[in-house]
């Protein structure tokens, strides 16, 4: 027996799960493929241009920011790709390409890298990018066109329930809106895959969508219409479920989803903003550290059945 073998020393456990950060990130990318395809199908060349611009700008910004920070580049962990893609799907189809690129840069730099990169950002980077653009260029960011043609049109939400778009239109995505948000069908398809892989927690979308449905019922609105219109599906399934910026406890995730639903409905019912998904999630992102603190699970053996 060779006694010069060098063994590996490490502490337990010596087995690890197969999942990795980049696997999760690329799975999200895969899950966004149906929504991306629907965006390209409905909005054609514009969609391709905007989504490509966003993703490329995000990747470039990631590399440059990491070089500036003097840390090793982690381009291939897929996180910048997810951010870029999500931001792209959140863009209105008519937005100028430079604006899309600026949004990506803001998302990556201000949303993520200044906080120390992946895992340390308090807010969802893609939403930071979108909210930044919304505040900076409110006109260009709220210009909508109908699918398949360049005729400007208003979104179903702006028209209100009973507008020209029925549930079928909403479900399939045949409505004006951001590139990737229109087709509930495509989004659900991707989200089901992520749920199956357990890469997103069902509590958040269920809490979020459930709250929206309940409140719209109570407020005398059409719940199904509220669920299917605007960026709610995209937000609830892909942005509110972003691991980094949501609570790590189960109870915290419930509160996160419900809180986001309440804020969204408050904004939709009484606010002036055209759409509240972005803000509802951002605000709950801000509350996430507090939720983590306040929903600490009761430790095993503390307050259980006491000794007889």
């Amino acid at each position: 027996m060779d006694e010069n073998i060098q063994l590996v020393a490490s502490t337990a456990p010596h087995l690890r799960d197969e999942d990795s950060v980049s696997m999760i990130m690329y799975s999200v990318v895969w899950a966004l493929v149906p929504a991306t395809l629907s965006a390209v199908y409905f909005f054609r060349g514009q969609a391709v241009g905007i989504i490509l611009t966003c993703t490329i700008a995000a990747l470039v910004a990631e590399v440059l920011a990491q070089r500036l920070r003097g840390v090793p580049a982690t381009l291939w962990d897929g996180s910048a790709l997810v951010t870029g893609l999500l931001l792209g799907l959140n863009m209105p189809p008519t937005v100028p390409l430079w604006m899309a690129a600026l949004g990506s840069v803001v998302a990556i730099v201000i949303g993520k890298q200044v906080f120390g990169g992946l895992g340390h950002n308090p807010f969802n980077p893609a939403l930071v990018g979108r909210a930044f653009l919304l505040a900076a260029f409110p006109v260009q960011m709220t210009k909508w066109i109908a699918p398949f043609d360049a005729v400007s049109a208003s979104t179903p939400l702006a028209q209100g329930a009973g507008g020209i778009y029925g549930y079928g239109h909403l479900y399939l995505g045949l409505v004006p809106g951001s590139l990737g948000e229109t087709s509930a069908f495509a989004l659900l398809l991707g989200a089901l895959y992520l749920l199956y892989r357990e890469y997103i927690d069902w509590r958040i979308p269920v809490g979020y969508l459930g709250t929206v449905a309940v409140i719209s019922l109570l407020a005398g609105q059409d719940p199904l219409f509220q669920l299917l219109s605007g960026g709610l599906m995209l937000g609830a399934l892909f942005m509110a479920t972003d691991m980094v910026t949501t609570p790590i406890t189960r109870a915290g995730r419930w509160i996160f989803g419900i809180g986001a639903g309440v804020i969204l409905m408050v904004i939709r019912l009484w606010g002036a903003m055209p759409e509240g998904v972005t803000y509802s999630i951002l605000i709950m992102n801000g509350l996430t550290p507090l939720l983590n603190r306040w929903t600490r699970p009761r430790i095993f053996g503390h307050g259980g059945v006491k000794a007889q």
Binding site: Q6, L7, V8, A9, S10, T11
Partner: protein, 277 residues
């Protein structure tokens, strides 16, 4: 009535009223406080801006007295205030004490000291000890994960490319935090002018030391015999310098077969009273 009279009177009344109330309140509600805290509060800028992270200047002053705040913790006051506070707290270093700096007593870098296994775990010395006691074959030497460098609040310790910590003597304040931080007890505070150091802490027998490390002390005693000041003694297979006697002559350095003894030649020879008397 003329507006100037009005304003004078109203301001006067309000001013007098509050002055009275405060004078009354400060007498009635007087509470004893630590005189040092008050003295520090005197020194502080009194802006109550909260930039120190404490609740205002009095909070900070209390923090200093109770040891929760650094004397230099007031960003508004700057160095002058910090010095004045240090004076109140009586912690300004007396000038006549010889400065001590941290000295690493191991030379077993990643080339000299052999590994017995590969390590895959947290890059922290104390944590590495948990994974089977460190992967170096030598169980006394530097683990090379730089817990000391992380612990040093003055940035005086950096890890060299061979994973051995290097002390920047200019930055070192001799606070002793690294001495505490090293799980292998490899740091010692030594007076600044001492230039000869035996950089090994292994009490293992010579044979084992040779197996584990190329620069470890094998306990050959040559240095002890060579030293004109009898400043080196042997403790459990290890040569140890008595800095009280050492004069930085470097005689031991020449005879050490394993190059364990290091000599920083720029340090002046030390005149030792002990050696003379």
């Amino acid at each position: 009535m003329d507006i100037s009279w009005l304003s004078m009177i109203s301001m006067g009344v309000v001013g007098a009223f509050f002055a009275l109330v405060l004078a009354y309140a400060s007498n009635v509600f007087a509470v004893d406080t630590d005189p040092r805290a008050e003295a520090i509060e005197e020194i502080l800028p009194g802006a109550n801006c909260g930039a120190c992270g404490f609740s205002g200047c009095s909070g900070f002053a209390e923090g200093v007295v109770t040891g929760k705040a650094e004397v230099s913790g007031c960003p508004v006051g700057g160095a002058n205030v910090a010095n004045a506070i240090a004076e109140v707290m009586g912690i300004a270093a007396p000038a006549d004490v010889k400065r001590k700096v941290a000295q690493l007593l191991c030379a077993g870098d990643c080339e000299q000291a052999k590994n017995r296994a590969e390590y895959n775990g947290v890059a922290d010395c104390r944590a590495a000890l948990l994974a089977g006691g460190g992967v170096k074959m030598c169980t006394y030497g530097c683990l090379g994960f730089g817990s000391c460098a992380v612990a040093c609040p003055f940035g005086a310790i950096s890890m060299d490319e061979k994973d051995l910590p290097v002390v920047d003597e200019d930055l070192c304040t001799g606070c002793g935090i690294c001495v505490e931080a090293c799980p292998r007890d490899l740091f010692q505070l030594v007076e600044e002018q001492q230039g000869v150091h035996i950089r090994c802490r292994s009490f293992a027998r010579g044979k084992e030391v040779r197996q584990a490390c190329a620069v470890g002390c094998i306990g050959c005693r040559r240095c002890a015999r060579e030293c004109p000041e009898e400043a080196i003694e042997m403790v459990d297979n290890l040569a140890v310098i008595n800095y009280e006697k050492c004069t930085n002559c470097g005689a031991c350095v020449a005879v050490c077969p394993t190059n364990t003894i290091h000599w920083q030649k720029d340090k002046p020879e030390v005149e030792k009273l002990v050696a003379v008397g």
